[in-house]
């Protein structure tokens, strides 16, 4: 999957000599086809983004009247001193940097297995990909049951090892762990699909060639398969990190709509949601959104940089 760095070369000399000359007219027809999409994009994506950016600098902004006292950094000052925002940043960061590496590693293991000619391979693939087409709320409710203190299957298994039951959902100390375990599981299907697609694109002759030279399985994986898969891994990591930075929906079924036990588990998007929808402080919500945007942008830039370095051919 290589979307980036595709060069489009405009070769003037290769044009058909009978083709009409290129002028403003050339673009009218294609533009008319694109227009509906461009209008939609402008109204529902570009305008809101610019608006959020603007609102984040409006102090004491009221949405109904549109009044505000002045442009300034007060919203940013507020949220950066708000301990709930700081903890939401911390929680989100811990979530992203544990869930994604662990989930990707596990996915790699499964993708490698699925890439072999296993019996019932199609069955396994379907089973693995099922969570992707199931609603987050439904799956979350199932997890809520599994985490249940009295009847949950997780505590049941812990009991088999003589470990005391853990009050997963009501003890603030375990909130983040609950979210992380669920997160690791929920990122598996998408990651497995992408890694499997990447693996299937690798010519099996490379591994055969390495095998003839006597390379061990781990040597083949680390010297041949992984480098060839690097572009896919890079893409998967960054797409998942961006998605994980926006962790929000998962909180609802697990903690009945609250940010964890005793408000211990704010995430950035949950914070934005609460400040916007419940407290109606648009300026601060927008400022938080912009901070999140900058973090995601940073990930993307890092990804672009890394992908350029990882692309070997």
């Amino acid at each position: 999957m290589r979307i980036i760095n595709k060069k489009i070369v405009w070769q003037k000399d290769n044009r058909d000599p009978d083709a009409p000359p290129v002028n403003a007219k050339t673009f009218i027809e294609p533009l008319s086809y694109l227009l509906p999409f461009i209008i939609g994009l402008a109204i529902f994506t570009i305008f809101p983004i610019l608006n959020v950016f603007l609102i984040s600098f409006k102090e004491n902004y009221r949405m109904i009247t549109g009044e505000f006292s002045q442009y300034g950094l007060a919203n940013y000052q507020f949220i950066l001193q708000d301990r709930y925002f700081i903890s939401s940043l911390r929680n989100t960061a811990i979530y992203v940097f544990t869930v994604i590496p662990i989930s990707t590693t596990i996915s790699m293991f499964f993708a490698l297995l699925l890439n072999k000619k296993l019996r019932f391979s199609a069955l396994y693939q379907t089973a693995f990909f099922l969570p992707m087409v199931t609603s987050v709320i439904a799956v979350g409710l199932a997890w809520k049951w599994m985490y249940n203190y009295d009847y949950g299957i997780i505590n049941f298994f812990l009991g088999l090892f003589n470990i005391d039951p853990i009050n997963w959902l009501n003890n603030p100390n375990y909130g983040l762990l609950v979210l992380i375990i669920y997160g690791i599981w929920s990122y598996l299907p998408f990651t497995i699909i992408l890694l499997l697609a990447g693996l299937q694109n690798i010519n099996p002759l490379f591994t055969t060639a390495a095998k003839i030279d006597g390379a061990s399985k781990s040597k083949i994986f680390f010297r041949i398969t992984l480098p060839l898969l690097a572009p896919t891994v890079g893409l998967v990591l960054i797409v998942n990190m961006i998605n994980a930075s926006k962790v929000f929906t998962e909180l609802f079924p697990l903690f009945s709509g609250r940010p964890g036990a005793a408000y211990s588990l704010y995430t950035v998007v949950y914070y934005i949601y609460e400040v916007f929808y419940i407290k109606w402080r648009l300026g601060q919500a927008s400022a938080a959104a912009i901070v999140l945007f900058l973090i995601v942008l940073l990930f993307t830039l890092v990804q672009l940089f890394i992908q350029r370095k990882w692309k070997h051919y």
Binding site: L205, F206, T208, A209, A210, I212, D213, G214, A215, I224
Partner: protein, 355 residues
């Protein structure tokens, strides 16, 4: 390294790819596995490398049985048809990879890689990635990677099929040169008889997985063991004149004229046979006798020192090289006889050679 195959067979389900093959390849030679597409020659190559396990039979390298030995223990170098160079490694890293696996010290690795690169003439390309190389250069890199670990046996799968016509001739000479310089026993797969004839010391001709003949190219051409071998080698293809045996004479189909067959050849009357004649084995006679056939000139292609003529013998056709001095003209009646060399008689049904 001498290689001996004993009753080697490979089945893929019901398909028999290699059928009860027994042959001994001489050491230090350049050997071609030749045959039409799908005749099992690539399968045989991959069986020698160890990638494809044998169904039954045995493989011996220098009298040591290797039939069940893992590929990496056999000491073979393999060049794949599409080279399979690791795209993320430079040429140098590609060549060093087999040595890296063997945990050769780094200095020695580089030294050996450079030695082989000089032999194969790619020493200027060492820092490039495979994608930046032409087909011929990739082929050279693949050869180097296979040779760097000093294999006892070098296997090449259709080494020239991915190259254009000019490069093909250049590379086949290169393969020959490199094989002679290293002296490594080399087996390559090809379906191109000209390729096999031009560079190999020995050719194993296979049809439908079955042994046809194993000999030097010249011997294969001059002395084919059956009709298939005679037909497969040579350009233009060997002429086939159909007929039957009558009283020790070969009688053409649809014609009354005949030629004498040697007396020691006692074939029953009515035996269906094919008279196979190389185009260069035709001799012109001034007058008809019992060893000539009547023919009509139907086409003449001038080739400089000789002419390639199409001749009609009743409703059968053949091609023959005739010296220019004979000054043949279109439609002329001629009497053709045959030289000693390049004339064979086969059974029409079985392809068995009588003469």
């Amino acid at each position: 390294m001498k290689i001996h195959l004993s009753e080697l067979t490979k089945n893929f389900g019901k398909v028999v790819a290699v059928d009860n093959l027994s042959v001994t390849f001489k050491s230090g030679k350049l050997i071609a596995l030749l045959g039409p597409s799908g005749c099992g020659k690539s399968t045989l190559l991959y069986m020698l490398s160890g990638i494809t396990p044998a169904s039954t039979g045995q493989i011996f390298f220098d009298n040591v049985e290797v039939t069940a030995m893992a590929p990496e223990k056999r000491g073979v170098g393999l060049v794949f048809q599409n080279y399979a160079l690791y795209p993320h490694m430079t040429v140098l890293q590609n060549i060093c990879f087999p040595l890296e696996i063997q945990q050769t010290p780094k200095n020695e690795r580089l030294e050996r890689a450079m030695t082989i690169a000089k032999l194969v003439h790619i020493e200027d390309l060492m820092e490039r990635k495979p994608a930046e190389l032409s087909g011929g250069q990739q082929q050279r890199v693949a050869l180097s990677r296979a040779l760097v670990k000093n294999p006892k046996l070098l296997l090449l799968d259709e080494p020239l099929s991915n190259l254009d016509a000019r490069l093909r001739i250049e590379m086949r000479e290169e393969i020959r040169r490199i094989q002679v310089e290293t002296g490594v026993t080399t087996i390559f797969v090809t379906h191109d008889q000209e390729e096999a004839m031009s560079i190999s010391d020995e050719i194993l001709l296979i049809k439908l997985g079955q042994y046809q003949q194993y000999d030097s190219p010249q011997e294969l051409y001059d002395n084919p063991s059956n009709l298939f071998v005679a037909e497969f080698l040579g350009n233009p293809p060997i002429n086939k004149i159909y007929g039957e045996v009558q009283d020790g004479r070969f009688v053409l189909d649809g014609r009354s004229d005949a030629i004498n067959l040697p007396e020691n050849l006692s074939l029953a009357n009515g035996t269906r046979v094919v008279l196979a004649i190389r185009s260069e084995s035709i001799a012109l006679h001034p007058k008809a006798n019992e060893n000539t056939l009547n023919a009509t000139v139907s086409e003449i292609y001038r080739m400089g020192k000789e002419e390639l003529t199409h001749l009609k013998l009743g409703n059968q056709e053949m091609r023959g090289y005739i010296p220019v001095e004979k000054q043949l003209v279109f439609g002329q009646e001629i009497f053709i006889g045959f030289k000693q060399k390049g004339v064979f008689l086969f059974d029409e049904q079985s392809g068995k050679r009588y003469l």
